[in-house]
């Protein structure tokens, strides 16, 4: 038995930390591509894609600013008015954590609280490219600390399970979104016309989900768009793949069901998505249409979040 609002705070605390990490990775990948010489780089604007991958393109456009490195970085990293900026995510994660402090281990609380306190100093340090690079690394480090302390020290009970559920639902959402923004680059027919730019783009996708090395270990060949899709959607051994996220989500939902002696719509929905991912082959994905597949998935993942909230009174 736990307070529903505690479960809610734990769930969202993890979501915000994971979201901060994801935005940091997206920014890092965008930087890398924007460093590619214009000759190869062509006309695409990486910063617009970064905004789209973070789900912030509309909101940013509404501010009337030009999508260059300076302003996109400012918007996604530091803008308090943007509820999904890294800064807002850290502040909200800390707010959630503060509300449920007794439910966290000291280490996890201190990891989040220190991040919140350090943020101000880092922000004050200014915005050279070098400092931005350090900042992104710092964000990944914070996420690692929060996750790591939770993984190492939390009691394996409902508190832990809700924490992990938020984490994996957010992660699945981010991976699907990153893929969806670049889906046209991953279509098989693209492989033939792809030039060096595509290669950079593919590498960037993998990098933004920290999977470039994993790709080589799994496939032992040059980057192929359909293999990238395969890795990030269907491979359970790949920690950021949709299949892996759902493997974890079903596990934690099952733990809850077992502990509470009751299962409900959330368990059924998660299992359905999990087994669909397990029974799908890359060909099927492309036959259905990559974009359509990902849109469906994003909607399903969203519905699962709602189902969990309803079933466990998270409100």
């Amino acid at each position: 038995m736990m307070l529903a609002s505690t479960a809610n705070d734990l769930f969202w605390m993890s979501r915000y930390v994971e979201r901060a990490e994801s935005i940091a990775r997206i920014l890092g990948a965008a930087r890398r591509i924007s460093d590619v010489p214009q000759v190869i780089g062509g006309e695409t604007n990486e910063w617009t894609s970064a905004l789209a991958a973070a789900g912030q393109l509309h909101a940013f456009t509404a501010t009337g600013r030009a999508p260059d490195e300076e302003s996109v970085f400012a918007y996604l990293a530091f803008d308090e008015a943007n509820p999904s900026s890294i800064k807002s995510c850290v502040a909200m994660a800390r707010q959630n954590a503060r509300s449920v402090r007794p439910a966290l281990t000291t280490e996890t609380w201190e990891a989040i609280n220190s991040a919140y306190l350090e943020f101000r100093d880092i922000e004050r340090a200014g915005g050279s490219r070098r400092q931005r690079q350090d900042f992104l690394r710092w964000v990944l480090d914070v996420s690692l600390r929060v996750s790591g302390t939770a993984f190492r020290n939390m009691l394996r009970d409902e508190r832990y399970w809700f924490t992990r559920l938020g984490f994996y639902i957010e992660r699945a959402d981010n991976t699907a979104r990153i893929l969806d923004v670049k889906y046209h680059l991953l279509l098989p027919e693209h492989a033939d016309i792809g030039g060096s730019l595509d290669y950079y783009q593919w590498a960037a996708i993998l990098r933004s989900v920290s999977a470039l090395t994993a790709y080589h270990w799994v496939y032992r060949q040059a980057l192929k768009p359909w293999l990238i899709a395969d890795l990030l959607i269907l491979r359970e051994e790949m920690p950021r793949s949709l299949a892996s996220c759902y493997d974890n989500i079903t596990t934690f939902l099952d733990e809850l069901a077992l502990a509470y002696g009751r299962q409900g719509p959330a368990q059924r929905a998660a299992r359905a998505t999990h087994s669909r991912l397990a029974n799908t082959r890359t060909d099927d994905v492309f036959k259905q249409g990559l974009h359509e597949f990902l849109s469906d998935f994003l909607a399903e993942n969203n519905r699962l979040g709602t189902a969990i909230a309803e079933q466990y009174n998270l409100i």
Binding site: M2, S5, T6, Q95, R98, S99, Y312, N313, L314
Partner: protein, 488 residues
């Protein structure tokens, strides 16, 4: 600063001489027994070590989020209460005397509140003027006739104590509403453990750590008449934006109970429940840190979003215990305070062991005339005020301030009391690289359950960090110290 003469509760000798009493060095500069080991340690410890420890302590407080929100100060949304490294020391014998006095006083306060909301014998006996109670907004008519679980409306009290010499303890203020600060008592001890591990052992200091266990036992002993089988306790907080949220969360953690906000609770058919991931769970005892006004919008302030609609009906129906009960703030009122010696005698049949600071009630014409004539020497306080706001410290005031204050006084004399300026005792305090005497007070926490009163040996020592200042309130820049009670 100059201490000012006044009549004491005992007779006519002055309270505090011109020179304040120093708890380490007394009046004459000779180290007092209880401080001997500490003084040696201070002498052998280089100040750069103290500086380093001070930084470590601050980092520790900040990292663990031990902060205090200050209203109306946006930049300092979460501020640290300055922690002073040098502990304050009481001997076992001093503590025993103090503790006996506190027990007596808190038992009288509990008896007073039970009486005021039932037979009101003390009013019938003419001890306190009726209008001081009934016209007082802290007195809650809603409480009249309700059976208070265990007859203990004030399970948790914080009594503010000051001393002016080696012998006498004075009560400055009673806090029977929702006294705060106990987390600092426990955290300050924890920090001492971390920073000066050897020092505690060398001094045979009585532990304070069992406070949470005592509190839990007290709350369990006061379960409602119509309770469910097992006693479920929660801590009710106004939320994470409240200035004392850290303490609420800290207490819930130490008690091992849920920390809830109003929105986590709801009432069905006069039974209180909390919303859990597995549906409603009944709640029996609410240690509430939400003020009376905001507890239940159906009974108290209708615009409150912090409380639980119907909570007070549960209390009436005897299905839930509120700790503290509603309407206990009446005994915190400074006009009631002035009657405390008589109150103690009325309910305990014995003379009070702790002194009251002599108090002029400005509602009485002769007293008012005296106060107006002596504004420069007195401390004038609002009767319902707290936190050190709305008061005039005569000796520290300007002519213009006194003139303005005397207008206020004449307009609403009922609203004020006056007291002599006490020469509060000082303790050695580490300020700006040196050790200097600073004025202190002490708030011990007094717990009362169905089977009696318990006090953990210690309390929260607040220290006025500015030289000569007598204002120790954390909302006005005061700091805190670890408070040691030595084994006898």
């Amino acid at each position: 600063m100059a201490g000012v003469m006044g009549k004491t509760a005992k007779g006519s000798e002055p309270i505090g001489s011109g020179k304040p009493f120093d708890e380490m060095n007394g009046f004459d500069g000779e180290c007092r027994e209880a401080y001997r080991a500490l003084k040696d340690w201070l002498e052998e410890t280089p100040t750069d070590l103290l500086d380093q420890r001070k930084l470590e302590a601050e980092a520790l407080f900040r990292r663990s989020g031990i902060t205090f929100a200050v209203y109306g100060d946006k930049d300092a949304e979460e501020r640290l209460i300055p922690y002073d490294l040098i502990p304050r020391v009481l001997s076992g014998a001093e503590w025993n005397r103090l503790s006996e006095g506190l027990t007596q006083r808190v038992q009288a306060i509990n008896a007073l509140i039970v009486d005021l909301y039932s037979k009101a014998e003390i009013l019938k006996a003419g001890i306190i003027p009726e209008e001081l109670i009934y016209a007082n907004p802290a007195f809650r008519p809603e409480m009249i006739g309700i059976a208070i679980p265990g007859n203990v409306p004030v399970p948790i009290a914080g009594i503010d104590i000051v001393r002016v010499d080696a012998d006498d303890f004075y009560v400055l203020e009673d806090n029977a509403r929702t006294p705060s600060g106990v987390s600092y008592m426990l955290d300050n001890r924890e920090v001492t453990h971390l920073l000066f591990p050897d020092l505690l052992g060398r001094n045979r200091v009585q532990p304070v750590e069992r406070y949470a266990d005592e509190l839990l036992a007290v709350l369990e002993s006061l379960k409602p008449v119509n309770s469910s089988g097992d006693t479920t306790i929660v801590v009710l907080t106004p939320g994470s934006y409240n200035s004392a949220f850290y303490e609420h969360s800290f207490l819930a953690d130490k008690l091992g109970v849920e920390l809830v906000e109003g929105r986590d609770l709801f009432v069905r058919d006069d039974i209180l429940y909390m919303r859990t991931t597995q549906g409603p769970k009944r709640v029996d005892v609410v240690y509430r840190r939400v003020d009376d006004d905001f507890l239940d919008p159906l009974t108290f302030r209708p615009d409150s979003m912090l409380g639980v609609p119907g909570l007070f009906s549960c209390y009436r129906a005897g299905t839930v215990t509120l700790a503290n009960a509603v309407g206990t703030g009446i005994s915190d009122d400074k006009a009631i305070y002035s009657y405390m010696p008589e109150i103690v005698r009325f309910y305990t049949g014995a003379d009070p062991l702790l002194h009251n600071v002599p108090t002029w009630r400005c509602r009485e014409p002769e007293a008012l005339a005296y106060v107006l004539d002596h504004l420069g020497e007195l401390v004038v306080k609002e009767v319902h005020g707290s936190g050190g706001y709305g008061m005039l410290v005569g000796p520290a005031s300007t002519q213009a301030e006194r003139a303005a204050f005397s207008e206020k006084l004449k307009k609403q004399p009922d609203n004020f009391i006056a007291q002599p300026t006490l020469a509060l005792s000082t303790c050695p305090t580490y300020v700006d690289g040196c050790i200097a005497p600073r004025h202190v007070d002490l708030r011990p926490f007094v717990l009362t359950g169905a089977s009696g009163t318990r006090i953990v040996p210690g309390g929260l020592t607040r220290v006025a960090l500015r030289e000569g200042s007598l204002v120790v309130n954390s909302s006005q820049g005061g700091g805190t110290k670890d408070t040691w009670v030595l084994e006898e």
